[in-house]
């Protein structure tokens, strides 16, 4: 179809405007994080400081607790992502391949867990985990995050399995392989992109979780990144440069995983349209 050149220009302009809107808050984070302290207030609204420095990054990495928060977050999000993906792979396979009596109820249960306010679990969760010694512990967070992410990840894995023809494992089973062997050796390798996407989604979700981490963790030893950053913000003297440098550091893993999963965004968000 021929296009009106005015419309084409307007279209590109609109896209450009939206990209500016999407990137500006991140750009500002970056800008303040490289502004030296003496210019922070005098050049507060300039688009780029007259002089840049990495002093905030150096300070945050060398003299603050942020490396530990970063490591804690990484352990929690990484373990959660791996465990959830394993559990969701087998459960998603069952939902995709078997016709059995409880299937409808399992699906309903998993949908239900996506609908009710998780915030109402905060108090009872604390009461349950506290006598087990799982408050103030990374293990406690991993258990909680794993359960929260399993339903969504199961739907996601199910949608990937649905895309693989059944003939493949049926042929293997006729040749004498058990179903589990067929699943592990033939189907799983074909779902590697799906597994990567699930890992990415769950990692990002665990990396961002705030409210349960605030409730279950007190003190710095087991603090994850959001807990550490928020306690930093509420301190008496606020150092904006350092906070934003820390913020950029927190953004890096999330952005990397975004690149990993962005090809699967459509599939993922449609499978788990219930989740953010």
């Amino acid at each position: 179809m021929r296009r009106n050149p005015v419309l084409t220009v307007l279209h590109r302009l609109a896209i450009g405007l939206y990209i500016a809107f999407a990137l500006f808050p991140l750009y500002w984070l970056l800008k303040v994080s490289v502004t030296p302290n003496d210019l922070l207030y005098s050049e507060g609204v300039r688009m780029w400081p007259s002089r840049t420095s990495f002093e905030h990054y150096a300070f945050v990495i060398a003299n603050s607790e942020f490396p530990r928060f970063f490591l804690n977050s990484f352990i929690v999000s990484g373990s959660t992502a791996v465990i959830v993906t394993l559990v969701a792979a087998v459960a998603g396979y069952a939902l995709s391949r078997f016709a059995f009596r409880g299937k409808y109820w399992i699906t309903a249960l998993m949908l239900l867990t996506q609908m009710f306010p998780l915030v109402m679990l905060i108090a009872p969760m604390f009461k349950i985990l506290s006598p087990l010694g799982l408050t103030n512990s990374l293990t406690g967070l991993i258990v909680v995050y794993t359960a929260f992410n399993v339903p969504f990840a199961t739907f996601l894995m199910q949608s990937f399995f649905d895309g693989i023809p059944r003939d493949l494992e049926e042929a293997a089973m006729i040749d004498g392989a058990t179903r589990f062997v067929a699943f592990r050796q033939i189907i799983l390798p074909l779902t590697l992109p799906g597994i990567a996407a699930t890992l990415g989604f769950v990692f990002t979700a665990a990396w961002s979780e705030l409210l349960f981490a605030l409730m279950l963790i007190s003190g710095n030893a087991a603090a994850t990144f959001p807990v550490g950053l928020l306690s930093f913000v509420s301190k008496f003297s606020v150092d904006f440069g350092q906070m934003m440098a820390a913020g950029i550091l927190a953004l890096i893993p999330a952005a990397l995983f975004f690149l990993l999963i962005q090809r699967y965004l459509v599939q993922g968000l449609t499978a788990g349209a219930v989740k953010g």
């Binding site: 896209i15 808050p25 059995f100 998993m110 306010p117 109402m120």
Partner: protein
């Protein structure tokens, strides 16, 4: 004899193995969900009728409907209810409108579309606590540009943060939420747009339908189911989404940005009053269930008429 038993037992065992196979595969997921979500849920419901304060070792007794009587006269709760409607309605509506526009823009082929799409969707990858902090800083009159722009546009007399203005504070978290959530709508709607058969548009164009007519009679009817389900699910999700408010305003100034979900969190986390927090949570759960039921009923009555 033994051979007979064996031949009769094997099919039974095989049948048992076959029947239990799907349950073995789903067992880890089910155990996790029951132990870590359902058990606390039931416990939380029981807390709503008990006096549970973390710092008081003598608490824990059964108090009946006392929390709900307190809720009925709790002005902060009433404010939070109104704020929840406001926060959810404005966020969902603005996210949907701009998400739809963005999806329509990205549905046109152009050079560099893949890169443009990745950049447009990037905000979705930003952790919610960082989104909240980032927007709080953008609204900050000392280091943020927005108050100065508002002054330049004549919207404000002196640069100050809207987050501390009781009348405007709610727009802070809403702005952050809109920025963060547009990609979600755009991605879902874009997927639905790409599933519309292209020849429909060509046929309509040959029949002389203009762009607006084609949008009204082809695009909208095809998108309608996706729009309905996305808005329904997003409404529930956003009304429960307290992160941005906890980070940006903590419910202040004077409870003007407190929504029910953040009120539950504050009651549990700052006041450590688990009983009262659970009572509020139970009310929120009932409200959300009612909303979902209403939607399902509406949908069925629509289907019957259609």
């Amino acid at each position: 004899m033994t051979a007979l038993v064996a031949s009769r037992r094997r099919p039974f065992l095989q049948r048992l193995a076959q029947a239990s196979e799907p349950w073995l595969y789903t067992a880890p997921a089910l155990i996790l969900i029951v132990a870590v979500m359902l058990v606390p849920l039931v416990l939380g419901v029981s807390y709503a009728f008990r006096d549970i304060k973390l710092l008081n070792p003598f608490s824990g007794g059964f108090v009946g409907l006392k929390h709900f009587e307190a809720l009925a006269t709790d002005q902060a709760f009433r404010t939070a209810l109104v704020n929840t409607l406001w926060w959810t309605g404005a966020s969902v509506l603005i996210q949907f409108v701009f998400g739809l526009i963005l999806a329509l823009l990205l549905n046109q082929p152009f050079r560099g579309r893949a890169v443009a799409q990745a950049l447009c969707f990037l905000p979705w990858a930003v952790p919610s606590f960082l989104t909240g902090l980032d927007w709080a800083w953008l609204f900050n009159p000392v280091i943020g540009p927005l108050p100065h722009w508002f002054v330049a546009l004549g919207l404000m007399e002196t640069p100050q943060s809207i987050l501390s203005d009781p009348d405007l504070a709610m727009w802070g978290p809403i702005a952050a939420n809109v920025w963060w959530g547009i990609p979600f709508f755009a991605i879902t709607l874009l997927a639905a747009l790409q599933a519309i058969p292209k020849d429909l548009y060509e046929a309509a164009a040959i029949d002389g339908a203009g762009p607006i007519e084609r949008f009204r009679s082809i695009t909208l009817p095809f998108l309608a189911p996706t729009i309905a389900i996305t808005i329904l699910l997003r409404t529930v999700w956003i009304s429960n989404f307290a992160d941005l408010i906890v980070v940006m305003t903590n419910g202040g100034p004077a409870d003007r940005t407190q929504i029910v979900a953040s009120y539950i969190f504050t009651t549990a986390f700052r006041r450590l009053d688990f009983g009262y927090a659970s009572a509020i949570a139970l009310v929120l759960l009932v409200l959300l269930l009612t909303y979902s039921m209403l939607i399902v009923l509406l949908r069925q009555s629509f289907l019957k008429r259609g």
